[in-house]
């Protein structure tokens, strides 16, 4: 809402892309800039190898998957801080189900079910009791992490099912990591859902102006409930992927992911105030953060230096992208 008036004077582009405002492009420009920078400086140190680029994709997949769902939540004007904790609990319930002999399907059901239930609870608290989602999901972030610690008393649960580990994380199809396949499938799905379906439109309308959406017959409560179930589901999936990638469920998975996920979404050009956004931007936002982390490690910097520089890069990238556009 804040920006409603700021670009009045700018001419609209008068074409189908007019609803992507400039901010959505920053991330693409910045991403390319960063890749080029690393390619030049550390290309010879392994950054440009196919394997390393696939590494980036693998490392980013979970954040990106959650960020896809988060794009819907944020577009609807809400926020979900619980995703990181949900990955942990889902990795454990999934692993326990497999350990108990329910196989891949059982593990899948347990992990996704965990996510969906938590999403449902979050959604109901937000829509029925009208508690701000920041509070609801902050509370569930804490409670769910507690459950993840409690369920096995912080012990990791090993997954010895090779099929599971193959499908959820460690496997490759030809040269392509399965994680990348998961990611691409969901990106396409999310993009269509976001841009092309009534549901996506209703999400945007709800976030753009909840009352107006209601007056157009949009069941905004249902929409909000669904977007929370969406993040729950995707966090559940991300938890299974963590588990598959590391052959174990663990209570500490996903700690701090909520901020990375939200950052990817905002970096991608989605407004924290709801109503506008893009899925592809989100994907690129996530990839960009993953690339920065990877590149700085390959550069051989200290952790402290990595942190300082990655913070600065993010701001510079956005600032630079902005300048480009103005010129």
């Amino acid at each position: 809402m804040q920006s409603k008036d700021t670009n009045r004077a700018q001419s609209t582009m008068g074409n189908i892309f007019s609803n992507l405002d400039w901010r959505n492009y920053i991330v693409y420009i910045a991403f390319i800039g960063i890749i080029i920078y690393f390619a030049v400086t550390i290309g010879d140190q392994g950054f440009l190898t196919v394997n390393n680029l696939l590494n980036i994709a693998r490392q980013t997949a979970m954040i990106a998957l959650m960020a896809l769902a988060m794009t819907f939540v944020i577009s609807s004007g809400e926020i979900d801080l619980s995703v990181g904790s949900v990955t942990a609990l889902a990795s454990l319930t999934g692993a326990l189900a497999i350990q108990a002999g329910y196989g891949v399907i059982g593990g899948l059901a347990a992990g996704l079910g965990t996510g969906v239930i938590i999403g449902l609870v979050n959604g109901l608290l937000v829509t029925r009791l009208a508690i701000p989602s920041f509070l609801v999901t902050l509370a569930s972030m804490e409670a769910v992490r507690g459950m993840a610690m409690w369920i096995t008393d912080t012990a990791p649960v090993t997954i010895v099912n090779p099929t599971f580990n193959y499908i959820f994380g460690a496997g490759d199809i030809g040269p392509i990591p399965i994680l990348l396949v998961w990611l691409l499938v969901f990106v396409v799905f999310a993009h269509i859902l976001y841009r092309k379906t009534p549901f996506g439109r209703q999400v945007l309308a709800t976030g753009g102006n909840e009352n107006a959406a209601k007056f157009s017959g949009v069941n905004t409560k249902k929409i909000k409930l669904l977007v929370f179930i969406g993040t729950g589901f995707m966090a559940g999936l991300a938890g299974l992927l963590y588990a598959g990638r590391m052959n174990a469920g663990r209570f500490s998975f996903g700690e701090g992911d909520e901020l990375s996920v939200i950052a990817a979404v905002i970096l991608g050009g989605t407004s924290l105030f709801g109503g506008t956004g893009t899925i592809i931007g989100t994907l690129v936002g996530a990839l960009m953060m993953g690339t920065i982390n990877n590149g700085l490690i390959i550069m051989g910097l200290d952790v402290s230096q990595q942190m300082i520089i990655s913070g600065i890069i993010i701001v510079l990238a956005v600032a630079f992208g902005k300048k480009q556009k103005k010129a």
Binding site: D5, R8, R201, S216, G274
Partner: protein, 498 residues
């Protein structure tokens, strides 16, 4: 023709024990256009919101086509084929015009996906029929209020309704758009659709409506066929007494005095071209033009909101650089913006907080805000503009539309500027208050200020201005002394660009 499609009986409603509607009745016939009239805060919008399930009545019942209807939310109203253009717009600002118009009833492709192309095509057609020159893919928040309102109208017209409620649909429109709208309404009426029409523009009522119901302070005053009454009678029903009609009065001010505000060679890309004019102390300059003719853009540029490509502004003969609002305010200018919700008010704040915001640095004692002064100023303007509110602490979004507009006006009057730019100051304000506002503008001018008024209501503009400047496609096409204007048609002609 006399079949009743809607009957509202004995509707009462109060908000925290303030009675807003008192046993109000309302009847609507099939295929009629029925004007719902009343002063600001009379309860018109509330009555319609009860009909559409936004509010629930404390008592009373609603019959639709003779059957008792329970309408608890807007969706149930849609089920009864009731559709409403809300006074506080109900568009999603972040979506495009087409997306808004077809929200929740988009065309689908075979795969069940949204067929945006089809929606855009239909929108383009609709907009063309309405004579609106905007792209279907413009984002609504980038458009001016006028287009915003047209989008709203297009949206409701494209819905299949039996009862169409229009709550001040034309408040930001010029005559041209209004006429197109009336054609449309005529056609709908002939199809048997019933329309409830709310407006403070009196002439419109007699142009288009079949019957009139007047509310005053939440009570039924009269329901009458238009043929059997006249403008003055209706006005006296609305205000509950006599009201002076808009009349131009020649005022005395020095024509020789150096201009208080002078603008030279102002250019804003794509919007304004070579604007030059001046206003003398004590002068009221009226600005007329079609929608999108650049009137709002002009005042925005003057006030430092939009970037100027070139242009010099002289105040009292001194050249001033005005690059942002702060500069403008420092130069003792004030701008009353055209869109009260977006630019005028902080909706979740109280009447008082809104009123004193521009002068907050002046109502303090020591370092702290002096609540007593703030209260006094607020109360003074509530009285002076006759703002209907329980008290000055009431949240402003709970005031009626016209009363909100009066607060916006009060807020800028209270700044006591030397140069006052008023962009549609009387949107949604009732007939009684309009004459008072015109009087206030004259008083301010008499004290030597320079005033620029933009208004789409010609009779109002003619009543208040000393000089009228007509804009067309971002240029000044004509400037005429009020004295030399013989009739409304003359200026209307100039506006259309001939």
């Amino acid at each position: 023709m006399s079949e009743l499609v809607l009957e509202m009986c004995n509707i009462s409603k109060s908000f925290n024990s303030v009675n807003v509607l008192n046993n109000v009745g309302f009847q609507l016939k099939k295929g009629e256009i029925h004007a719902l009239m009343g002063g600001n805060g009379a309860g018109k919008s509330t009555l319609m919101k009860i009909l559409t399930g936004v509010y629930s009545a404390d008592s009373g019942e609603i019959l639709i086509e003779g059957k008792k209807a329970e309408i608890n939310n807007y969706n149930e109203a849609i089920d009864h084929k009731i559709s409403m253009i809300f006074q506080e717009f109900s568009l999603v600002p972040t979506l495009t015009v087409a997306q808004n118009i077809f929200l929740n009833r988009e065309d689908k492709t075979k795969l069940g996906l949204i067929n945006d192309k089809e929606c855009i095509k239909k929108t383009a057609k609709l907009l063309q029929e309405l004579g609106v020159d905007i792209s279907p893919v413009s984002i609504v928040q980038d458009l001016g209020v006028g287009f915003w309102q047209m989008t709203e109208i297009a949206k409701s017209l494209s819905q299949e309704a039996k009862i169409l409620i229009m709550d001040e649909p034309t408040s930001s429109l010029t005559e041209k758009e209004t006429d197109v709208l009336f054609d449309f309404m005529e056609r709908l009426k002939n199809k048997g659709i019933s329309i409830i029409y709310i407006s403070h523009r009196m002439e419109e009522i007699f142009k288009i409506c079949d019957r009139i119901t007047v509310l005053r302070d939440g009570e039924n005053i009269i329901t009458e066929d238009c043929e059997n009454t006249d403008l003055d009678t209706v006005i006296s029903h609305i205000v509950g007494g006599e009201v002076a009609s808009f009349e131009w009065k020649e005022r005395d001010y020095s024509l020789e005095a150096p201009p208080l505000l002078q603008v030279k060679n102002l250019n804003v890309s794509n919007q304004l071209e070579n604007i030059e004019f001046y206003i003398q102390p004590g002068e009221v300059l009226g600005v007329a033009g079609l929608m999108g003719s650049g009137r709002t853009e002009l005042v925005r540029a003057l006030f430092g909101i939009d970037h100027k490509d070139s242009g010099d502004i002289y105040i009292n003969g001194e050249k001033k650089l005005i690059n942002n609002q702060q500069d403008a305010i420092k130069a003792n200018m004030a701008l009353l913006p055209e869109d009260r919700r977006v630019q005028g008010l902080v909706l979740q704040h109280s009447v008082k907080d809104n009123m004193v915001l521009p002068i907050i640095d002046r109502v303090k004692k020591g370092l702290l805000v002096n609540e007593k002064i703030a209260n006094n100023i607020s109360n003074e303007y509530v009285d002076r503009l006759n703002i209907k509110t329980d008290n000055i602490y009431k949240q402003i979004s709970l005031l009626s539309g016209g009363n909100q507009q009066k607060v916006v006006l009060a807020k800028w009057l209270a700044t006591e500027p030397d140069i006052l730019l008023l962009d549609e100051p009387t949107i949604g304000v009732d007939i009684g208050a309009k004459t008072e506002i015109i009087e206030i503008i004259r008083l301010m001018a008499n004290s030597g200020k320079a005033i620029l008024v933009i208004s789409s209501e010609l009779n109002e503009l003619l009543a208040v201005s000393d000089k009228i400047m007509v804009m067309h496609k971002g240029k000044i096409s004509k400037t005429i002394n009020r004295k030399d204007i013989a009739s409304e048609e003359e200026i209307q002609y100039a506006i259309q660009g001939y």
